[in-house]
Amino acid sequence: MQNKPNDNNNVKKRGDCAVLYPDGYINDIEGEKLEGVCDELLQKGCRKFVIDFSNTDIINSIGISIIIGVIQKVRDKNGAIFLSGLKKVNYDIFNIVGLTKQISVFKDEQEALLWASGDNKGVLM
């Protein structure tokens, strides 16, 4: 298994929405830091999230488990979460495990933010 440190979960605030940019690979339990970042934002009151995977090359089953953990945490707080920028190989994995039926996946961050703003105009993948 390839491993790459994933400690650079950049976060940007876009209006009332937090956009998370996980780096590199989410194929190791180190990727759990993403859940930690999300926890902190939830505690600060943030309830809208976009996770943009445009810089993420590999997501495996461990990564799926971590992302489900993030989604569950947001939903437990009645928040909303959207995904964007998934590379095809990663989108296929989301599709295989059925996650694409559970969560909206957008072409890119802008489309996800459009949807999150309530315009309902964002373009899905």
């Binding site: 298994m1 489900i68 495990v97």
Partner: protein, 412 residues
Amino acid sequence: MIDVEVGLDKLLFSLNTLSELADVTVSGNNFYRIIKSSLYMVMGSFPASKGAIFGYDPAKKAYTPIVAKGLGDINDINIHLEEAAIRGFAIYNRPLDLTSNDPAVAMLGPARDMLERLGARLMVFLVVKDEVLGFITINGKFTDDLYTPYDIRVLHVMAQHIAFSLHTHSLLAKLLHKYTENKELYDNMRRIYYDTIHAFATAIDAKDSYTKGHSHRVSAYCTAMSREMHQTLEETEGIRIAGLMHDIGKLAIDKTIINKNSSLTKNEFIELVSHPVVGYEILSKVKFPWKGLPMMTRSHHEKFDGSGYPDGLKSTAISAGARIMALADAFDAMTTDRPYRKKLSFIQAMNELKKCCGTQFDPEVVHSFVSVIRKEVSGKTGDLVILPMLGEELGGSSGIQEYLNTFELPAA
């Protein structure tokens, strides 16, 4: 053969996950990380949002969580299973759908309620060699889909990999337990062994009221010189023990001879000088973990020029240990009171060493001894061995440093 239709993509994903799981389970990572990664792989494969891996805790006689996800803190949960049920699950050994009417589910007894409270939907046992080492539980799929027979087969294969990890860990834990147990036994034996040797040394010295502590001092001098001469740790330990035992032959000598303050008769002298040989004979019967102890004892009255006893050995024909011991023994004899004379001062004893360097004593050994003393007096070493033995004879004497500065030995 797969009895459900599974897409190629899903097959490849499963294959990739199983391959990664195999890598993780044999990786050098710590046990907790391996098991955590394994659980995440299981949960990400189906996918599930809640899951745990339990392992058997012999101390609690229960299965306790090793790792959990999505369940909060469940560390205080202990799952008790009947022994008959455990034996049954070892044979059954396939994933259980806890919502089904499978008779195996009923075998869980009260544990079933506990598992339901954890939201467990599937349970798979971690079995190696008919032993249920633990189990995995996961809740229903995050996607609300049902688990398919294919999912259950994949879960079973994943469980076999994880069981292997648990088994390896369990073997290592047992090995570590045995090692600790044996080490404690060994340490106890070693302590008894050393205590016995020290008791012998005390008994030897008790034969002579003038030589109280002689064996311990000789042992300390020998150790310091051995270190200075860069002997191996094993050699140094050997000579330390030999120092304690070197006069063991005196136990067989009449006490009145040892303590006599007038001239010895010929027979008394013969008896007294027999102690190295007697000591050798005693120690030869003991299997020591160090080499050469009996010979060190036999030869500690040999002289470098061949004029010593009992064998008249010369130079390197005398073992290194015995050459070191000869100096240590003589130096301590010189610097302590004897029935027939008062002790020499430190400076007198050092002059005697110098005088006998190359005749009675091996020059290399004399150099090492002087080097240790110099280091101790100058404060270059905090590990003081010789100075404390000399007591007030040396303490606070500023002239010693000056004396040592001008003290010269013939080249070794």
